[in-house]
């Protein structure tokens, strides 16, 4: 029986991309900046393209998701602050990265 240690939380949540640009450079860079504040290992993939799981702290990786407006992405985290990190990032995406 494996029991998850508190230090090793796993959490995931999906969110729909709402901003006009989708995951172009600026939003990706903002995402990475936010993700870098957390110690957990962050993985992101787009629903329908599960083969391409990218490191959420890599701009290059996020861009290869080609996550356009209205696409759905899944944010996964493993680590101490897994839940907090995912929730924070989901909120960021949902807010449309505060673009006009």
């Amino acid at each position: 029986m494996t029991e998850l240690m508190p230090e090793n939380q796993t959490y995931e949540q999906s969110v729909v991309v709402s901003n006009w640009q989708g995951f172009h450079v600026r939003p990706s860079a903002l995402f990475v900046e936010a993700a870098s504040h957390f110690s957990s290992h962050i993985t992101v993939y787009k629903k329908g393209s599960e083969f391409n799981k990218v490191n959420g702290k890599s701009v290059m990786g996020l861009i290869t998701l080609v996550a356009q407006k209205d696409s759905e992405i899944v944010i996964q985290a493993v680590g101490e602050d897994a839940k907090a990190s995912v929730e924070n990032l989901v909120k960021l995406v949902r807010s449309g990265f505060n673009e006009e």
Partner: protein, 586 residues
Amino acid sequence: MKNDREQIFVGIVASPGYEIAHCQLLLEEEPIVVKRVLSEKDIESEVEHFSVVLSDLDHQLRKVLETLDSKDVSYRVILSQLAFIEDPIFRQEIIDRTQKEKLNIDYIFVQVLQNQVSRMSRSEGSFYEQLLQEFSQFSLFVINSLNGRTYSLAWDKECILVARDLSPSQTVRFIKEQVVGFAIDSGSQTSHVAILARSLGFPAVVGLKNMSMTVQKDSLLIIDGCEGKVIINPTEETLSLYWNLKRRYENYQNRLSDLKEQKSETLDHRKIHLMANVGFPEEIDTVHKMGASGVGLFRTEFLYMNRVNLPTEKEHYEVYKKMLLNLKPLPFYIRTLDIGGDKFTSSINVPKEISSFLGLRAIRLCLKYRDIFTTQLRAIARASALGSISVIFPMISNVDEMNEIEVLWNQVCEEVQSEGIQVGHIKKGVMIETPSSALIADKLLNYADFFSIGTNDLIQYTLAVERGNESIAHLYQPFHPAVLKLLKMVVVEAHRRKVPVHVCGEMAGDPLGALLLIGLGVFHLSMSPVHLLRIKDIVRRVRWQDLHEISQKLIDEEGALGVKNRLKQILLDEKSNDIIKGENYE
């Protein structure tokens, strides 16, 4: 292997004039990366070199960023490059693999990048294409830097730009550089490169096929924008001939400028309104310089080009205000967004279509994405308080569209009025550029204060010939009987209801075209400012009565050639041989 021989390339005239200057090649050089095995001691210096180069590139890019406006698409592209360079995960992967596989770092770099690309899902739209382009640019940039080859885009002297093709966004950037001519492999007489060169007043030749591959960097070139030729490495004799031609041409242009103050009337005193087509606010100076009697077509697509977000109402308004105040009291005709086809936008993610000419563009796009449309309409309504504006709606093909527009327009005016702005009387015009609109001109008259015939597109759609396609450029015939028939139909219907007809396509700026149109009863011609004085010169030499009489005979001609010959005859009768010679009509 240097080739100093004089070579002549023949293409298509895109913009008149002569220029002699060195060329600047715009080519993407694909670097060749070969796999090399590294020895243990080399690995460390390889990784070190990589880090140094990246940090240097980072520094360079940041400097360039400071000089750009954040709305410029180049700004976004450079941000991308920076983000990639600063991506620690990407960088670490390259370093790790180099150390593990003991191979040269540029090879590993290409592998890792290609790996990223292969993981991208191919999806609809320009998003994927843009990313591919960005990755490819990034790759070029880094590899060239790693190999010690850097290239800059700044030129320190006047040059003729040579390229395989020029995208609209690239051409917008080059206005500010020292370009005095274009020599492009692809394109046709009505492609955007041609239109831009004409509006900027420098010679351009397109359709040169493979010239860009043959010409050497920095070669001396002669552009002959009157005959559509480019000469590489001209001999002394050729040079002297062309310096002469250039001088004579410039004298002719100067003589024409004397015409600026003269009346725009035929010999029998029929007034012809000669207006300017303007695509960027910067062109406003040429409007005054050429003595145009107004702006007959203000293209608003530039507001949507070279940026990722959509222009705000305020941005629209500021532009219209600036134009109006500058033009007052001359008339100002704005065409609403005509995006699609060969016009590019990065901000609207419209799915790629099989044929965007027949697809979701112009008024169709505006009626589907209403917010975009009402933003523009609101700005126009507000600007109308400052002066006289007229609006032209592009690509109208049925009456339903006009009904929808009417409803939206009334809503917008009410809204704006209720915000305390005195909305002026705005004339609304229908752009006749589809065969359908020409054929139902009588019905569209119920909705139009004027018609504006867009001959470029009308000819394309009627003759089923695509603009910008070199292989069939010869089929694009403005004087085709089918086109004449439609033109006549529109004018006759409009005159019946005393509604003015404008023509704003390239035909209006062509001497024979202008004569034909005037003969048919079109007294408002709007053209690229560069043609204006020449057309005025011709207008002043002919009698409307003669043109009118001949217009009937023209309709009976079987083909374009017959039409052109009859029109040429008029010029001959008026002893305007110099014009015939100058236009190479003999």
